[in-house]
């Protein structure tokens, strides 16, 4: 329950009890003034039947008797103020009966607006709290997959390292191969040059030793050999 703000904390024994909740409806009244509980005071003593409400009700008897007594004994004198009072009373009763519900609805609306404002704040707070709870749960769920995330990252990093390493290995191999190729090419070139040089030198020495006469004889001999070879190969071909 709501605690009074005027009470200090633990200074004395509690005298202002927590405020009781307000009743939904006001007390029931009869004829606008007399509370209903008044008429029910003597029900335990006299019992209740269907006609005990008005006809034989004790307070109606009391009221009627009292009024008649006051009037007949002229304790209450009917004068001009009676009529003024009657006129005023009828205006009041008319006003209450006609505008009462509207005024009550207006008062209720004022109270409801106040409650609605507070309710909006409460709902907003509740919503934000629920949202933050859900966010927290999501974060907790996310932390479960932390190890997977780290493994993936680790794998990534390892792959990168591996790739880098292999690249460098390839580079080294290529560089070494290039240098070795260079040397091999150099050796081949040297060998070829030596061969060509030797061939040229041999050709030159042979050409220088050949005189014109043996050259002609050797050429005719070659031609006759070639003819003989041609004949043998033709014969072989026909066979």
């Amino acid at each position: 329950g709501l605690v009074q703000a005027s009470r200090g904390l633990h200074t004395s024994s509690q005298c202002l009890a927590p405020m009781p909740p307000m009743p939904e409806h006001g007390g029931k009244v009869r004829h606008g003034i007399f509370p209903e509980e008044l008429f029910q005071l003597l029900y335990p003593k006299t019992g209740v039947t269907e006609c005990s409400n008005i006809t034989f009700s004790l307070f109606y008897m009391l009221g009627t008797g009292l009024l008649v007594y006051l009037l007949s004994k002229e304790i209450y004198v009917i004068n001009h103020e009676t009529y003024a009072g009657l006129a005023m009373l009828s205006v009041i009763v008319y006003g209450v009966k006609k505008f009462g519900p509207q005024v009550a609805a207006y008062a209720d609306q004022l109270n409801d607006e106040k409650l609605a404002k507070a309710q909006v704040v409460k709902d907003l707070t509740l919503n934000s709290m629920t949202e933050s709870i859900e966010n927290e749960k999501k974060e907790q769920w996310r932390t479960e997959g932390r190890s997977l995330l780290f493994d993936a990252k680790r794998n990534n990093v390892a792959m990168l390292l591996e790739t880098n390493y292999r690249e460098r290995l390839h580079m080294v191999t290529n560089e070494v191969k290039r240098r070795l190729d260079y040397h091999v090419a150099l050796q081949n070139l040297k060998r070829r040059m030596e061969q060509e040089h030797m061939i040229n030198w041999v050709e030159m020495s042979v050409v220088s030793t050949i005189s014109p006469q043996p050259e002609k004889e050797s050429i005719t001999k070659c031609i006759s050999d070639l003819k003989a070879l041609a004949k043998t190969s033709q014969a072989k071909a026909t066979v």
């Binding site: 103020e81 003024a84 004022l110």
Partner: protein, 227 residues
Amino acid sequence: MALNFFDQFMTPIYMGIPLITLATLMPRLTFLQPTSQWTTSRFSTLQSQLLNSSTYQLFAPLSPKSHHWALLIVSLMIFLITINLLGLLPYTFTPTTQLSFNMAFALPAWLATVIIGLRTQPTHAFAHLLPESTPPLLIPILIIIETISLLIRPLALGVRLTANLTAGHLLIQLISTAMFTMIHTIPLMAMLTGTLLLLLSILEIAVAMIQAYVFVLLLSLYLQENM
């Protein structure tokens, strides 16, 4: 039956005990003490709504310096409204029908506004004695007239309230006496007079509330002029 219609305005004395204090203070019992509940009962909600809305309406056009007068003026208004309304019931005494009572509220309040105006902004206060754009020929006459109108304000305030309420009460008494006298001789006329009495009662309820509001509104206007 030698009935004096002005007996209702005699200060009430019962067995030698003057009851004027009781008559003045009793209406205070009709309004509720503010509670520490958050959602209050219907009556309490309506009462606070009335007070808040009337305070806002009266003090919205006023400068913030004059908001110190809010408590005085609004409590005066509620006081006068309750006294006036309760005085409409039969066999009651209305203190606001006494000129002395109303002058006791009007004169000090008006004088306070004038003195405040003369002390804080004397030029502005004197400037109120001459309306804008008057022909130069009329200026002396107009100043005299405005001064007289300024000095007559408290009297006007007091007498307005007194006269309205006294007249209303007297009328009610007269018409109900007429009805009372005629109801045995010419009942039809008495019924017509009764209808008139009904309408008059409605009018008197309205007048009671309006006069209190006007009293307080004029005071706030005098305050606005001077502060």
